[in-house]
Symmetry: C2
């Protein structure tokens, strides 16, 4: 039984829960208005969020927070309100875009590095996962000084090390998303442009919450039961069914 | 200036200190009486230890301790006392012999192994050195289960890891022995068989105290300043100058 209406698909994707509005709006700007000068009208934002079950007041609060945190800036053009990413917000968005939208395995060589002591400065890079306080798996071994370095091949890592690559919570989240995605069979036929855009945003948003908590390392270093690659394939398939909408078309 | 008398050489080798008698006697049995059935007379033991500055009473106490610990057994044959290794003592001695007398680098491939937890049962094997509680360098990687294993090549290990291969005390001891050995130029010419045997025992004994505290791993995993290989070469040179004496010849 294929769900075909917008509400069916949206309900499955959100598991009937409303996503955090300010975070969802970051996804909206990344999907529709990442180009310099791209502005989204309050009207379009209101229509999109209404479709996703978000109340106008919640949207206003979220926009306020995003302005305050430096993500977006807003202006008035006659009777219209226009919102756009700040330079900083656009940089954040551009930074995350390849990780979210390049729906493929990481192809860089990956290394196991043993350091004399954990290097605090490196903890935040997405290209690494610490196995213990001295052992890190990374695509950028040159970051670590006085270290033992060896390139990893598939099958090299025992399971207990793979389990350290990605937190239990993110593993569970990916497994749950995979179930949702498998029950979801979106098709553009019969949907409006706005509905297509809203479904893409829901899919991208769910995926973004997982992939941005996942180190950018090849699949073969992850736990055998890690649902990430299957999620990624399913996200790619669904986005393929739902062509990207242009901001210009949606505004008219 | 070459020291040529027995006393000159012996003084340099012992740094003018008397070695622990019971431990020295273990070296004596290993050098002269490791074969099954080989017995050393009390007379010969007394002459040898006297040459090395050990008092008869100290030797008697040491023999008593070795008997009590199961290393040797003693018997009376007419007016002679005869001492020999027990089966257990001979096994201990045979176990250490290749490490002490094979004066060459370890040629086995060597591996870095990362374990989930330190395996207590393996701590005592001589084929390993623990770098941290989870990381071990070893020639026997198959001993460790659920482990990450990678073969090491020369230059792979950073200095801080090499420093963990061998304790500071043993490093200092090897440096000190190397100095002594460099000042020592033993020659068999002009020495009695007993003196030659006694010098060999002093040299083997000094070397034994270092090599048995050293993991059986290739030189290239040790610290750059580790004096072990130079000691080993010097020990080989000196033993070459002092031919091994047979127990039969010494007893007559």
């Amino acid at each position: 039984m294929k769900p075909t209406t917008f509400q069916d698909v949206a309900a499955r994707l959100t598991d009937d829960q409303t996503p955090r509005v300010w975070s969802l709006l970051v996804t909206v700007f990344g999907e529709l208005a990442q180009d310099e000068g791209a502005k989204i009208s309050g009207t379009l934002l209101g229509s999109l969020t209404a479709l996703l079950g978000i109340k106008p007041e919640a949207m206003r609060v979220a926009l306020h927070r995003l302005r305050k945190d430096g993500w977006i800036e807003s202006e008035r053009d006659g009777r219209k309100r226009l919102h756009q990413l700040t330079e900083w917000g656009r940089a954040q968005s551009a930074d995350a875009t390849p990780r979210i939208y390049d729906l493929a395995d990481v192809r860089s060589p990956v290394f196991l590095v043993i350091c004399e002591a954990k290097t605090a400065g490196n903890v935040a890079t997405q290209s690494e996962a610490w196995i213990t306080s001295q052992i890190v798996v990374t695509t950028r071994p040159a970051l670590y000084k006085n270290a033992f370095i060896t390139q990893l091949q598939p099958e090299d890592l025992p399971d207990w090390m793979r389990q350290k690559i990605i937190g239990r919570a993110t593993q569970d989240q990916a497994t749950a998303l995979l179930e949702q995605m498998r029950a979801t069979h979106p098709q553009a036929d019969g949907l409006s442009n706005l509905e297509i855009a809203a479904l893409r945003i829901l899919i991208v948003h769910s995926w973004r919450r997982i992939i941005l908590r996942t180190p950018a390392l090849p699949d073969f270093v992850f736990p055998n039961l890690w649902a990430g690659p299957a999620c990624r394939a399913r996200v790619a398939h669904c986005l393929n069914q739902l062509p990207a909408q242009s901001l210009g078309d949606l505004e008219t």
